[in-house]
């Protein structure tokens, strides 16, 4: 890579990271969007699903467009569309408009990402380096997305996540626009490469399955932290930033100690193990989510890069095969979200009922006076109404605390026991969905194992 090509490489990596971060960047903002746009959990999930679904559907056609009209031109137009749609997302006041804008964002994003893969070999001077950089930029973007989104949601608003992307897309687009101008002046479009083979089905299948598991992990963990354990978006962002940190560590050690197949298998096992740990949380404590996150972070960096490299190795044109990996990853995210959302929403409703029943039993069997019990029951009922079906914070129902020290002690104990039941319910509600994610991750070992013998 020459000094002159460095800004171009940086711009291309930034474009890839920016677009692929979008598949997860709104995860921490979903509870905020859910409340502000007055929708349902299933409805708000479509803010994520729509983007990933369109990415999955258009990634390969977008790669063909990049081949036909030139990667510079396609990339520049794609980023412009992405920036415009991001602005529209940021200005959306209704769920329908937001989802429509997200679809357009994905159209532009798919064009930019696949075009970037076509442009990177020339900019880096090596096809292998280009693929590794493209895969790493995508994995970094996807891993960093939730933390950045959480920070922006807490410090500014959920809309700022999208508005923030507009200038970033413009910065990334400037060097790509220069390439587009060069294409227009010279008439040189893509390098004329002979097509070498069909997409790597097993690697792409494994990529889809692992992406489904990772999407489930991120989506569910964020909802558990914010909706279940009532962390602020910034608090949740700090907690989930363990995953990208672990992913960074994994990306440094992985390639040095093993080949692509071993990295893919080890990564899938770690992602499943982390999800298994989240399914078996023994207490509602943030610290207990850290070891599973470490496993998932290291695992995702190993498996995503290994499978992407496998899917692209020896295949041309890179943009088309890169398009297939993007398509597989985003299809996996959609499948993961569609698989866990109904289970999770049904479970949280059931667990909420069980937790409230268990909490009421604590109140009824407590030593506080019957009149105070009745008063507390009324306040708890009001608090539940205010929380609109969410897992409630029960503290306000106990305010003000009684003046009598003995009664005060009893009420505080009662409040803590009731909150413990609610925490148990919230945590337990996520277990089956985390378990399903772990199973999907483990199943990815089948195509990874088969790819050892058969190379489709």
């Amino acid at each position: 890579m020459t000094v002159a090509s460095r800004p171009r490489v940086a711009a291309l990596a930034l474009a890839v990271g920016l677009v692929l971060a979008d598949s997860s960047i709104v995860v921490l903002a979903l509870p905020e969007i859910y409340r502000e746009l007055d929708t349902s959990v299933a409805g708000v999930t479509w803010v994520l699903i729509s983007f990933n679904l369109v990415m999955a559907l258009v990634a390969v056609p977008a790669a063909h467009l990049a081949r036909r009209f030139g990667p510079g031109r396609t990339g520049a137009v794609g980023l412009a569309v992405f920036a415009g749609a991001s602005l529209a997302c940021g200005l959306s006041a209704e769920l329908g408009t937001l989802i429509a804008a997200r679809c357009v964002q994905a159209l532009g994003g798919a064009a930019a990402v696949t075009a970037a893969l076509e442009l990177l070999p020339a900019a880096t001077g090596s096809e292998r380096r280009a693929v590794a950089l493209w895969a790493a930029a995508g994995a970094t973007g996807a891993a960093l997305g939730p933390a950045v989104g959480g920070l922006l949601t807490e410090l500014v608003s959920w809309q700022s996540i999208f508005l923030f992307q507009v200038p970033v897309a413009i910065v990334a687009g400037a060097p790509i626009l220069a390439i587009a101008r060069h294409e227009a002046e010279t008439g040189i479009l893509a390098a004329e490469l002979r097509s070498t083979g069909r997409p790597h089905l097993l690697a792409n299948l494994a990529l889809a399955m692992v992406s489904a598991a990772i999407a489930a992990a991120l989506f569910l963990l964020v909802l558990l932290l914010i909706e279940g354990w009532r962390l602020t978006p910034i608090g949740a962002a700090v907690v989930v930033s363990v995953m990208p940190l672990a992913a960074f560590f994994g990306s440094r050690i992985g390639p040095q100690v093993a080949g692509t197949r071993a990295r893919a298998a080890a990564g899938a096992i770690l992602v499943s193990g982390g999800l298994g740990g989240l399914a078996l949380l023994p207490k509602a404590e943030v610290a207990l989510t850290l070891p599973p996150q470490l496993l998932i972070g290291v695992g995702l960096s190993l498996v995503l890069s290994a499978l992407t490299e496998t899917a692209l190795a020896g295949r041309a044109p890179q943009a088309i095969h890169g398009g297939w990996t993007i398509s597989a990853r985003h299809a996996g995210v959609v499948i993961g979200l569609l698989a866990v959302t109904p289970i999770f929403t049904a479970d949280i409703a059931e667990q909420r009922r069980d937790a409230i029943d268990a909490g009421t039993a604590v109140v009824l069997d407590s030593p506080v006076s019957p009149l105070l019990k009745l008063e507390l029951a009324q306040r708890i009922e009001d608090q539940l109404d205010d929380e609109r079906g969410r897992v409630p914070t029960i503290g306000p129902a106990f305010e003000p605390l009684p003046d009598d020290p003995e009664e005060r002690g009893e009420v505080v104990q009662l409040r803590d026991e009731l909150q413990e039941q609610l925490n148990r319910g919230a945590t337990h509600a996520f277990s089956p969905s985390f378990g399903l994610g772990a199973l999907i991750g483990l199943l990815a070992l089948i195509p990874i194992g088969l790819a050892r013998r058969v190379d489709l």
């Binding site: 949380l281 207990l288 268990a358 009824l364 019957p370 009324q378």
Partner: protein, 167 residues
Amino acid sequence: MLLVAGSIAATAALVLAYLAAGGSSYAPAQVQDPCQEREWRDPEGLQQLAEQFSLSALDGAACELGVSRETLARALATPESRERFTRRYGIEDSQLARAIRAGLLRAVVDAEEAGALNPLIAAPLRETLRRIPLEQAIELIDDAEVLLDQLQTFLGPAQGLLEQFLP
């Protein structure tokens, strides 16, 4: 292979550690079936007897309606919550009244069996409860102390004896 073996070991260690710490049973406590007998604590005085009586009545009414004691307790907290409850479970006011009366009668039986209420009081109490209107029955389930006060009135000249029959 070292990387794969390390991943398996890390995964197994995490899952086993969380299982050992109780990860498979971290869920809300299960509430008791209201149709099953619930142990009576030894009441000390009228207030505690009234409280045990209310809980027993709630169990009986909940059993009759096929809901948990806890769901019924929340439903009876306010007129609005009661309306939501009857709408959700498709329960008529007359059904609710029957259930609450049945609950109050069960409370009398439970109190009698627990030795907390003398049979001489239990018999007239049952008669009173069979004729009680819904609103008053709900009030009684909220605070059975009222019931025991009313019982004193109902017993008229014999009310002085009441205290002797209460523990």
